[in-house]
Amino acid sequence: MEKQQLKGEPSEMTELRGLYSLWLREVKRYLRDRIRIISGIITPILWLFIFGTGIRFAGAIGNLNYQQYLFPGIVGQTLLFTSMFIGISVIWDREFGFMKEILVAPVSKVSIFFGKMLGDSTDALIQGTIVLLLGTLLGILKDPIVFLQLLPIMVLMTFGFVSLGLTIASFIQNLESYGIIVSFVNMPLFFLSGALFPVNGANVPNWLQTISAFNPLTYGVDALRQITLGQEWYPVFSFYYDILIVLFFDIAMIIIGTLALNRRK
């Protein structure tokens, strides 16, 4: 037994078990953090219930109920914000030494990245699902099939954003800077994504439309909205084009993230 282990290259089973245990760790840490879960419930309520109701009665977008319009945007926002925020765990791990335990373990760098990325994505997706449940409770999301159709798109969106967060965190030394940089990244991505207002609206200036085309969140939110609103919504891009761009963003960010997280000095 020992003989084989020492002689052979790491087996696939080892890699999978290492990956699984790193995933489990991230999820356990998240589930033990009650404040994060509570804030994950309260923030979307504020957006949907207060902001959504206010704008709905102050001025509607076409024939749409603004809350109906806003809902996919808030799902996207939740995924983006939690994904990016979770990247901070890399800095925690480095600061408090646990990163060394991982980096010196006999598992490949790819497994380390995927363990962490999938664990953090699970956390973000739990937050996203909470928003879907809230939407159901508030009567915005009525069809359970729509609920299920949204999930795979949310998974795709999360992978890219979590990888982006992990990449940024790999280059930042301290917690304070990370918080500042993440809000610098989050805000423009959020505002320029069509989450709050249609970027393809009739009177929206060209420059704003152009910038939003470079924003991965635009495509994710557009795809989500095509599912929740169906025929009522005039899509920014075709559904498959949206998915393709998000997928491309995922692959690029996963590659960059793997390299960034495992930089060896």
């Binding site: 020492l6 790491p10 760790r25 356990k28 408090f96 646990f98």
Partner: protein, 371 residues
């Protein structure tokens, strides 16, 4: 048991390390070697001109050491001497600038993964996840190191027993004291049955009682298991009590290497410390009349090194009396590793203080986070 220092790897040693690959890969742990084998025992670690530079600074300078199977090897030196850098390279966290090393017969550059599987590490700074329980930390480690699932539970129970943490195993680590965390880290380093265990300053920043506890564990480990241990420390006492051989490292170079006893013998004498009002004057008086190897003045104390301290002591007091000099207190002791260090490097290990603070800071940081 006690091997010789390899200043340069001889042909003979290379041959032994070839034997080593064969030998270790065939072993299942824990196994006990028969007496008589030790003469031909291969080195578990050999370094070949191992060097690491950080910009202008050469942290480790063409290091050639070999660590024998089954021994506790101490790397003793002040903060910044290159101890941690050496260990980091041997653990494959840090790439050498030049040179290389073999750990359990595996090259640290070419076979990093095999090296990693065959070693255990207890880092200088804490490296456990304090949001998980003790047991969860151990399971995580067992999975990362490919411990068969069927054996994980038994092994974890065993190591927990070894460090006496069974009762606290299911508590979140945040509730552990510094010493308990340290013990858990030692337990963690053992789950995958490493052939070499690296302990980087294992008792840094711990209280004397806990330190004593951990020393006992380390000694027991070596006696009960087939394991070699490399230990870095700047505590003289730690090196003296634990290490079979001690390498004194300063500015990235080994300045002395031998058993603690032999190192102390190289000083050829005992140390007499005299408290007096005018140590300079007393020094000149005594050296004229008596046979003294070396004198040194530290504040209002005079330190003498002499072959036979017990015989010299009454004469010292007598001579001082004759010259009407008052001797306030006299202490006679055998040389310590501290004296050895001073002898070879020309200075005392002064890093202790700053290092201590560093350890405290690490614990404090955790406390802040916990709140």
């Amino acid at each position: 048991m006690i091997g010789k220092l390899a200043i340069l790897p001889s042909k003979d040693q290379k041959f032994r390390s070839v034997m080593g690959i064969h030998f270790y890969s065939a072993v299942t742990i824990p196994i006990y070697f028969e007496a008589g084998c030790s003469e031909n025992m291969a080195a578990v670690i050999e370094t070949f001109e191992l060097t690491r530079r950080f910009g202008e600074l050469t942290a480790v300078d063409r290091l050639n050491i070999s660590v024998d199977h089954g021994e506790i090897f101490g790397l003793l030196g002040p903060n910044g001497a290159g101890k941690t850098t050496t260990i980091s390279m041997l653990c494959t966290i840090l790439k050498p600038t030049s040179g290389t090393a073999k750990v359990n017969g595996f090259d640290i550059i070419k076979n990093a993964n095999q090296v990693r599987k065959s070693i255990g590490i207890v880092f200088q700074d804490p490296s456990v996840d304090d949001r998980l329980t003790g047991r969860e930390n151990l399971f995580l480690h067992a999975n990362l190191y490919d411990v068969p699932t069927s054996e994980q539970k038994t092994r974890i129970d065993n190591v927990l027993k070894l460090v006496e943490l069974e009762d606290r195993a299911d508590d979140i680590l945040r509730t552990y004291s510094g010493g308990m965390r340290r013990r858990l880290e030692i337990a963690r380093g053992l789950i995958h049955y490493p052939k070499v265990l690296f302990l980087d300053e294992p008792t840094l920043g711990l209280d004397p009682q806990t330190r004593d506890h951990i020393w006992t564990y380390i000694k027991e480990l070596k006696e009960r298991h087939d394991i070699s241990i490399v230990l870095t420390t700047h505590y003289m006492e730690e090196a003296d009590r634990l290490a079979d051989r001690v390498a004194i490292i300063d500015y990235g170079k080994i300045v002395a290497l031998d058993t603690p006893t032999k190192l102390k013998k190289t000083l050829q004498g005992d140390v007499i410390t005299i408290s007096t009002k005018d140590p300079e004057k007393l020094s000149s008086v005594l050296t004229k009349k008596l046979e003294i190897q070396k004198t040194r003045i530290i504040g209002d104390k005079l330190e003498l090194t002499a072959h036979d301290g017990a015989e010299l002591l009454p004469k010292v007091v007598e001579t001082a009396d004759e010259n009407k000099m008052k001797v306030e207190a006299v202490v006679l002791r055998e040389p310590s590793l501290e004296d050895v260090f001073l002898h070879y490097t020309g200075r005392a290990i002064r890093a202790e203080e700053s290092n201590e603070r560093h350890g405290e800071a690490a614990i404090k940081r955790r406390t802040i986070r916990n709140d």
